[in-house]
C-alpha cells in the first residue's frame, strides 16, 4: 500500500484524536464553568467587610493651639482631610504626606450675621489659595462651641456669641491650564441662624442644632438650642412666597420642657428639622414633632432603659427614621416610631440592639449612602454596625504603634467621620494622630441571616420576611429576604406536582402495560408533543384564558375534583354490566381510555352546571365574592389553582416519559412469570412491575420537581408575582425564577440586588442539579439492574 497515504491517514487520525478530545473537553468545561461564573458574581455578598489602615501621622499644627478640636472630616476622594478647631477654623491637610495645606475661617461673614431673614445661597465664600495658609484675624472674635455634622461635609456650628451657621466643607477637582488636576478646597457658607430674642444672654445655649430645609420658593430654617436651665428653645423661620410673588417670612419660637427631673444629656434633630429627639441622664427618650410650628407636640416620653442608664449620645441613621441611641454602658441601639394600636398611632420603640462597646458611647457617625453607622466609645475604639440586620461589620482600633515605642497614654480615637462615599473612615486620636482607613463594605445591607431570617424594617410593626428590592428614593431601606421567594417557589411546585404527578404516573402505568401495544406508537408521541408546547404559551393561556374562567365558575372547578371520580365510577358500573358480552369485552380491552372520554366530558359538564346552580343558590351569584364577605378569604384571579393546572401541564410530560421508560423496561420475563402464575394484568402491574420500576418513577418525580422549581414563564405570567407568604389556594405567589426575570433588567450591575439575584440563580442551579443528579444516578442503577435479565 502507498506508504504516504498510510502516513497521512495515521496523521489525520492522530489529529482528529487530539482535536476531538480537546473540543470535547472544552465544551464540557465551558458548560460546567457556568456554575462557577454565576457563583463568582454572588460571592462578594458573603465576603466579610474589611478595613485597611492606609495612613497614620501626627496631626499637623493648625494655627491657634490650646483650643480643643471639634470635628474631623475627609473629602470624596480620600485625599484631603480637615479638622475644625475651637478657634473656628478649618485646617486642611494632605492625607498622603501629612502636610498642612491651608486654614480657613468658618465664622459667618459680617453681612450675613444678624440677618435672619436673608439666608445666604449656597455660594462659595472664598476661593482657594492653594499652599498659602489663611490669616484670619484673631482676637475679639468669638470661639466655636459646638460642631454638629450633618453629613456630606455639612456642619451646623454654634459660636460662643450665640451665632449659629451652616457650612459645607468639601474639595473638588480642578484642572490648571496645563491640564494637570489638583484639588481645590472649598468652604461654603450656607445659612446663618441667629437668636431673635435677648433673654438668652442670661441663659446661654449650651448646644444648638440648626437645619435648613427647602428649595427656591420655600425654605424652613430650624434652630433648636439646649439652654443652660435645661429647657429647649425651638425657633423656626419659614420663608416663602405669597400669591403675589412677594417674599414672606414667618418666625416662630417656643420653649419646650421635658417635665423630667433628670437633665438632658443628648439632643438630636432630623435633617428636615421636623422631629426632635432628646435623651436624659436617667435613660428617658423624648420625641417632639416640630413639623407644624404652631403645634409643636411631645409625641413620646418613655423610659428607654429600665436600669436608668445615662443616654450619652443620639444620632439619626440615613433616611431620618431610625434614631441611634448610645448609652453609658456602651450599648448601641436603634429606635423608630412603630405603628401601634389605632390607625396612625406610632410609638418610639427599641428595635435593634447591636454589639455593645465596653465603655460609654461618645458619638455616632452615620454612613451617607447606606444604613450603617460608626460609633465611638470612650475607650477609643470605633464600631461599624449595620442596623437593619443587626450585623456588626468591623471594629477599628488605633492598634498601630507610634514610631519610637508603643502606643502612649491618651491614644484611642476621639473624633471620626465616615467619608462621603462610605469608603473610608478618618479618625483623630487622643494624642493627636490622624488615621485613615479604607473601608470595603460593598454590601452592608445583606447577610445570610438577613436572607433567611426575619428582620424588623423601618415603619413595620414587627419583624417579617419581606422582599422589596427597590423604591423611588435613595434613602430607602432595601428588603432582601429570600424567604417569600423560596416559599413561593415551594408553593408553586407543590400545587403543580399535585396536579401532574398522579396523572403522569397513572397514565404511564396504563400506556406501558395495559394499553393495546399498537396504540403506544401514537400515544407516546402525543405526550412528547405536549412536552414541547412552549411554556410561554401555557403561561399565556393560563393567565388570559383559564384564570378568568376559573374566576367565573370557581365552584365548578372545585366540584370537578369530586364529580370526576364519581362519573368514572358510574362508567365502571355501566361498562361492567356491558362486559358480559364478549364482543364488547374484546373491543374495550386495551382501549379503555377511549371509552373513558364520554364519562369525563360528562363529569366536567355536570360540575359546571352544578357549580352554576350552587352559585346562584348558595353563594349569591359568585363564590369569590362570597368567600371574601363570609370567610374573609381574598381571591386573586391569578391563583394557585391556575398555577397548579399550568405548571402541572408543563411538567406532566417529562414525568410521564421517564416513568413510562422505567415501566416499559421492566424485563419481560418478570411480567411473563407473573401472568403465568395466574395474576391478572392489574395485579401484575401493581405487584410486580411497579415495585421493580419504582426507582425510575422516583427519578421521574425528581426531574419533574426540578422542572417545576425552575419554570419561569408560566409563573411569571400566571401568578401575579406578589411576594406574599400565604398558603391559601386562592392567592398567587412570587417564585425565585420569576423574581429574577422581573428584577434583573433593572438591577444595576454589581449592585446588591444584582448579586442577590445571582445568588438566587445559584440556589436554583444547585437545587435542580441535585435533584437531577439524584434522578440520573437512580436511573443508571436501574438500567444496570434490568440489564442483568
Amino acid at each position: 500500500m502507498d506508504q504516504k497515504l498510510l502516513r497521512r491517514v495515521r496523521r489525520r487520525d492522530r489529529m482528529a484524536n487530539w482535536l476531538i478530545t480537546a473540543g470535547g473537553l472544552f465544551v464540557i468545561i465551558c458548560v460546567l464553568g457556568i456554575l462557577v461564573l454565576i457563583a463568582n458574581v454572588a460571592v462578594p455578598l458573603l465576603l466579610p467587610p474589611a478595613a485597611q489602615q492606609v495612613a497614620s501621622f501626627p496631626l499637623p499644627r493648625v494655627s491657634g493651639e490650646g483650643r480643643e478640636l471639634l470635628a474631623v472630616g475627609v473629602d470624596d476622594y480620600l485625599e484631603v482631610g480637615y479638622v475644625i478647631t475651637g478657634q473656628g477654623e478649618v485646617g486642611f491637610f494632605d492625607l498622603k504626606q501629612g502636610r498642612l495645606l491651608d486654614t480657613r475661617d468658618l465664622y459667618p461673614p459680617p453681612e450675613s450675621v444678624g440677618e435672619t431673614d436673608r439666608p445666604e445661597g449656597p455660594e462659595a465664600a472664598r476661593t482657594a489659595e492653594p499652599g498659602e495658609p489663611g490669616e484670619p484675624e484673631q482676637g475679639s472674635r468669638p470661639g466655636l462651641v459646638h460642631a454638629d455634622p450633618l453629613g456630606g461635609g455639612k456642619y451646623s456650628l454654634l459660636w460662643s456669641d450665640g451665632t449659629l451657621n451652616l457650612v459645607r466643607i468639601y474639595s473638588r477637582r480642578v484642572f490648571d491650564p496645563q491640564g494637570r488636576p489638583s484639588m481645590e478646597r472649598m468652604v461654603d457658607q450656607q445659612a446663618s441662624l441667629t437668636h431673635s430674642g435677648v433673654e438668652e444672654r442670661a441663659n446661654p445655649a449650651l448646644l444648638s442644632l440648626g437645619r435648613v430645609f427647602g428649595g427656591e420658593d420655600e425654605e424652613t430654617q430650624t434652630r433648636v438650642s439646649l439652654l443652660q436651665d435645661g429647657k429647649i428653645l425651638v425657633e423656626k423661620h419659614i420663608r416663602g412666597m405669597d400669591l403675589l410673588g412677594e417674599e414672606t417670612l414667618e418666625n416662630f419660637r417656643e420653649i419646650l420642657e421635658t417635665g423630667l427631673e433628670a437633665p438632658i444629656t443628648a439632643l438630636q434633630l432630623d435633617s428636615e428639622g421636623n422631629n426632635l429627639y432628646a435623651g436624659t441622664e436617667d435613660g428617658h427618650l423624648l420625641r417632639w414633632t416640630l413639623q407644624d410650628p404652631e403645634d409643636i407636640r411631645l409625641l413620646d416620653r418613655l423610659q428607654g432603659f429600665p436600669d436608668g442608664r445615662v443616654i450619652t449620645s443620639l444620632g439619626m441613621l440615613l433616611g431620618d427614621t431610625t434614631l441611634l441611641v448610645g448609652d453609658e454602658k456602651g450599648g448601641v441601639s436603634g429606635w423608630f416610631p412603630v405603628p401601634r394600636g389605632d390607625e396612625g398611632m406610632r410609638v418610639l420603640a427599641l428595635v435593634h440592639r447591636i454589639k455593645p462597646h465596653p465603655r460609654p458611647v461618645k458619638g455616632f457617625q452615620p454612613a451617607h449612602q447606606s444604613k450603617f453607622t460608626a460609633s465611638i466609645s470612650s475607650s477609643g475604639t470605633v464600631h461599624l454596625d449595620q442596623l437593619t440586620n443587626e450585623q456588626h461589620l468591623l471594629t477599628l482600633t488605633d492598634g498601630e504603634t507610634r514610631p519610637g515605642g508603643s502606643a502612649p497614654a491618651g491614644a484611642g480615637v476621639i473624633l471620626g467621620a465616615i467619608s462621603p462615599r462610605d469608603d473610608g473612615y478618618i479618625a483623630l486620636t487622643g494624642d493627636g494622630q490622624v488615621i485613615l482607613w479604607h473601608l470595603r463594605i460593598p454590601h452592608p445591607e445583606v447577610s445570610l441571616g438577613g436572607y433567611f431570617g426575619k428582620i424588623w424594617y423601618e415603619n413595620y410593626p414587627r419583624s417579617a420576611y419581606v422582599w422589596q428590592s427597590s423604591s423611588g428614593t435613595d434613602d430607602f431601606e432595601p428588603k432582601f429576604s429570600l424567604m417569600p421567594l423560596v416559599f413561593g417557589t415551594l408553593k408553586g411546585t407543590f400545587w403543580g406536582m399535585l396536579f401532574a404527578a398522579p396523572l403522569a404516573i397513572l397514565a404511564a402505568m396504563y400506556t406501558s402495560h395495559l394499553m393495546q401495544p399498537g396504540l403506544r406508537r401514537y400515544i407516546k408521541p402525543a405526550f412528547e408533543i405536549m412536552g414541547s408546547v412552549p411554556t410561554v404559551v401555557i403561561g399565556f393561556l393560563a393567565a388570559l384564558w383559564l384564570a378568568p374562567l376559573v374566576k367565573a365558575s370557581l365552584t365548578g372547578f372545585l366540584l370537578i375534583m369530586g364529580i370526576l371520580p364519581l362519573t368514572v365510577l358510574v362508567a365502571l358500573v355501566v361498562y361492567g354490566g356491558l362486559a358480559r358480552y364478549p364482543f364488547f369485552s374484546r373491543l374495550v380491552r386495551g382501549h379503555e381510555f377511549l371509552f373513558m372520554a364520554p364519562a369525563l366530558l360528562l363529569g366536567v359538564w355536570l360540575a359546571f352546571v352544578l357549580g352554576a346552580r350552587l352559585d346562584t343558590a348558595l353563594f349569591g351569584g359568585e363564590l369569590p365574592a362570597w368567600l371574601f364577605e363570609n370567610l374573609g378569604v381574598r381571591f386573586d384571579q391569578r391563583n394557585s389553582i391556575v398555577i397548579s393546572a399550568a405548571l402541572g401541564f408543563a411538567v406532566l410530560p417529562i414525568i410521564f416519559t421517564i416513568s413510562d421508560d422505567a415501566l416499559v423496561n421492566v424485563p419481560r420475563n418478570l411480567t411473563a412469570a407473573s401472568l403465568a402464575l395466574g395474576a391478572s394484568r392489574w395485579q401484575t402491574v401493581w405487584r410486580v412491575i411497579l415495585p421493580s420500576a419504582s426507582p425510575g418513577i422516583f427519578a421521574a418525580l425528581m426531574v419533574g420537581l426540578g422542572r417545576a422549581t425552575g419554570e419561569t414563564m408560566i409563573v411569571l405570567m400566571a401568578t401575579g408575582n406578589t411576594p406574599l407568604m400565604d398558603w391559601s389556594i386562592f392567592n398567587g405567589m412570587r417564585t425565585m425564577s420569576a423574581n429574577i426575570a422581573v428584577e434583573i433588567p433593572e438591577a444595576p450591575v454589581d449592585g446588591t440586588l444584582y448579586r442577590t439575584l445571582f445568588l438566587s440563580a445559584v440556589l436554583l442551579f444547585i437545587t435542580t442539579f441535585i435533584l437531577n443528579t439524584l434522578a440520573e444516578v437512580v436511573r443508571m442503577r436501574l438500567r444496570k439492574k434490568f440489564g442483568q435479565y
Binding site: 414541547s532 393561556l541 369525563l600 426531574v703 411569571l716 434583573i744
Partner: protein, 544 residues
C-alpha cells in the same frame, strides 16, 4: 367475565389509569382547540350587527360575547351582549355591553363598513362621501367603488413616499457613520495627547460632509413631509351608527370592507390578505395589529446563529464522550453533569448570559473596539449574538443526549468490522459511525431548535425587545448586525398579552402569535420524533 371477578382482579384500577390518560389527552386537545379557534377565527370578517335600542342611540359592531342577563323574553334570550364597537377615537374603548332587554331591533345593514386603520383600531360605520384634494375623483359606479379606487390611489402614492423616506434613511446612516468616525478620530487624538499629530483637516472635511448631508436630508425631508401632508388631506367622510360624522384620511385606512355584503370568496380573499400581512408585515399600534415579520425573522435568525454554535459543539462533545473518552467514573460523572444541564432552569442560563456574555465579554469588546462610542454600549448590552450564545449553551445538552443516543444505538460489530478492515478510528468515525448516527444528530438538532424557538425567559434578559427599530440583517455594511436587539415570537406573546395598554384588544393578536409558534414548534418536534423512530427501526432491522 362477571362483575365481581373483574373487581377482584382490579379491573377498576385499570379503568382509573385509563381515565388519567384520557384526561391528559383531553387537556391537550382542549389547549390546541382553544388556540386554534381563537387564532384562526380572528381574521375571518364577522358580520356587523346594528342594534336599535329602546333607551339609547343605535350601536353597531361585531358580536363578541354574551352572558345571561336579567330579562327573559326579549331578543337574544335577554342575554347581555358584548359588542366590539371599535371607533376608539370616538368612544374611547373598543367594547361595549348592551342589555338584551333594551334591544328593539337587530339589523345587518349591507352597506355597513369596517375600516382597518393605521391608528385607533377598527372603525365601524357608513360611507357618506369623499373629500378629495389632489386625487381626481374616480369614475366609479357608486360611492363605494369610487371610494375604493381613491383609497388605492392614495396608498400607491403613500407607498412611493415611504420608499423615498427609506432612501432618506440611508443618508442618516451615512451621517451616523461620519459622526462615529469623528468620535473615533477625537478619541485617538485625546489618547495621543493634545500635542500629537492632529488630522484637523480630516475632521473639518468630515464635519463639512456631515453638514452637507444634514442639509440635503432636511431639504428632502421637508419635501416629503409637504407631499405627505397634501396626500393626507384627501379624506373620506363616514358616519357611525349614531350618525356622528368622522372624517378619515384615505392614507389612514389600511383596509375597507363591507362584511355584510361579502361572499365566501371575498371573505377568503380578505382572510388570505390578512394572513399575508401577518407573515410579512410590520407590527402596528404597539404590536397589537399588523404583521409579525420582524418577530418571525428575529426568531429564525436567532435559532440559526444558535445552531452554528450548539450543533458542532454538542456533536463533538457527544463523540468525545461516547467514542474517545475512556469509560470510567470521571466520564460517567461528566455525562451526568452534562445531561443535568438540560434540567437546569432556563432563567439560570439567562442570568449567566447576562453576567458573562453581556456584561463580561461584551464589556471587554466595547472597551477594546468601540471605545469611542462609550458610555453608550455596543456589545455591552443585550443583543442577538448574546441571546443566541445563551440559548446555544442551553441546547448543547439536548444535542449531546440525542447524539449519544444515536451513537450508542449503532451495533459494536459495525465499528469492529471497520477497524478489522484496517481503518483508523477516525476513518471508522467518519465513514461508518457518523453516517449511521445522522438521524440521531438531526433529532437532537431539531429538538434543540424546538426548545430554542419556545424559550423566552433567558432571552428577556439577554437581548429581546418589544419593538426593534431595525432587523439584525439588512443592506447596511456589515450586513449582519450581531449586536442589535431583536424581536421574538415567544416574547411577543408575553409582551403583547401582558404589557400592552389594551390587553382586551390585543388578545386576538396574541392568539395568532401563539398559534404560529405552536405550529412551528410542533412541526419541528414531530419531525424529530419521526426521525428518531425511523432511526430505531432502521438499526433494529440492521442488527437482528
Amino acid at each position: 367475565m362477571t362483575m365481581r371477578k373483574s373487581w377482584r382482579q382490579g379491573e377498576h384500577y385499570v379503568w382509573g389509569t385509563a381515565a388519567a390518560v384520557c384526561l391528559t389527552l383531553l387537556i391537550v386537545v382542549v389547549l390546541l382547540l382553544v388556540v386554534m379557534v381563537n387564532g384562526l377565527g380572528f381574521f375571518w370578517p364577522k358580520e356587523l350587527v346594528l342594534l336599535r335600542l329602546t333607551d339609547s342611540p343605535p350601536v353597531m359592531g361585531e358580536l363578541a360575547g354574551r352572558e345571561p342577563g336579567q330579562g327573559d323574553q326579549a331578543r337574544y334570550g335577554g342575554d347581555n351582549l358584548r359588542i366590539k364597537v371599535g371607533n376608539r377615537d370616538l368612544y374611547g374603548m373598543d367594547f361595549q355591553w348592551v342589555k338584551g332587554e333594551a334591544v328593539q331591533q337587530v339589523e345587518t345593514p349591507p352597506d355597513a363598513v369596517m375600516l382597518e386603520r393605521v391608528e385607533f383600531g377598527n372603525f365601524y360605520g357608513f360611507l357618506k362621501g369623499l373629500r378629495l384634494k389632489d386625487i381626481a375623483a374616480p369614475q366609479g359606479k357608486d360611492a363605494w367603488q369610487s371610494f375604493k379606487l381613491a383609497r388605492s390611489q392614495a396608498w400607491e402614492r403613500k407607498e412611493a413616499l415611504l420608499e423615498r423616506l427609506d432612501d432618506l434613511m440611508e443618508l442618516t446612516q451615512e451621517t451616523e457613520d461620519i459622526r462615529l468616525r469623528m468620535a473615533r478620530l477625537r478619541h485617538e487624538n485625546s489618547r495621543a495627547g493634545i500635542d500629537g499629530e492632529t488630522p484637523a483637516g480630516e475632521l473639518a472635511r468630515l464635519q463639512a460632509r456631515s453638514d452637507e448631508l444634514t442639509r440635503i436630508f432636511e431639504e428632502r425631508n421637508r419635501e416629503i413631509v409637504e407631499q405627505t401632508r397634501a396626500l393626507e388631506s384627501n379624506k373620506a367622510v363616514f358616519a357611525d351608527s349614531a350618525g356622528n360624522e368622522a372624517v378619515i384620511s384615505l392614507t389612514e385606512i389600511v383596509r375597507a370592507v363591507r362584511p355584510n355584503s361579502m361572499g365566501v370568496f371575498a371573505k377568503t380573499g380578505f382572510y388570505l390578505s390578512k394572513l399575508g400581512e401577518l407573515l410579512t408585515g410590520e407590527p402596528r399600534e404597539s404590536n397589537t395589529e399588523g404583521g409579525l415579520f420582524p418577530a418571525i425573522f428575529g426568531t429564525v435568525m436567532m435559532v440559526l446563529i444558535m445552531s452554528v454554535f450548539s450543533l458542532p459543539m454538542g456533536v463533538v462533545a457527544a463523540i468525545y464522550l461516547r467514542e474517545y473518552a475512556r469509560e470510567g467514573l470521571l466520564v460517567r460523572m461528566v455525562r451526568i453533569a452534562v445531561y443535568n444541564l438540560a434540567g437546569v432552569p432556563s432563567i439560570v442560563f439567562g442570568v449567566f448570559g447576562l453576567g458573562f456574555f453581556v456584561y463580561g465579554v461584551g464589556g471587554v469588546i466595547d472597551d477594546v473596539f468601540f471605545q469611542e462610542r462609550l458610555p453608550t454600549p455596543t456589545f455591552g448590552t443585550g443583543g442577538i449574538l448574546w441571546a443566541s450564545l445563551t440559548l446555544a449553551l442551553l441546547t448543547i445538552p439536548v444535542v449531546v443526549v440525542a447524539t449519544e443516543e444515536g451513537l450508542s444505538a449503532i451495533p459494536r460489530g459495525l465499528r469492529e468490522a471497520s477497524l478489522a478492515l484496517g481503518a483508523t478510528k477516525f476513518q471508522t468515525l467518519v465513514r461508518v459511525v457518523i453516517p449511521m448516527a445522522v438521524p440521531g444528530i438531526l433529532t437532537g438538532f431539531i429538538l434543540a431548535m424546538a426548545r430554542a424557538v419556545g424559550e423566552v425567559a433567558p432571552l428577556m434578559i439577554t437581548g429581546v425587545v418589544k419593538l426593534a427599530p431595525s432587523l439584525p440583517l439588512d443592506g447596511q455594511f456589515p450586513f449582519i448586525h450581531l449586536e442589535r436587539k431583536f424581536m421574538h415570537l415567544g416574547f411577543h406573546i408575553f409582551d403583547v398579552g401582558f404589557q400592552s395598554p389594551n390587553v382586551e384588544a390585543a388578545k386576538p393578536m396574541v392568539y395568532i402569535t401563539t398559534l404560529l409558534l405552536i405550529v412551528i414548534v410542533l412541526v419541528l418536534s414531530i419531525t424529530a420524533i419521526w426521525l428518531r423512530n425511523s432511526l430505531r427501526k432502521k438499526l433494529q432491522t440492521a442488527t437482528f
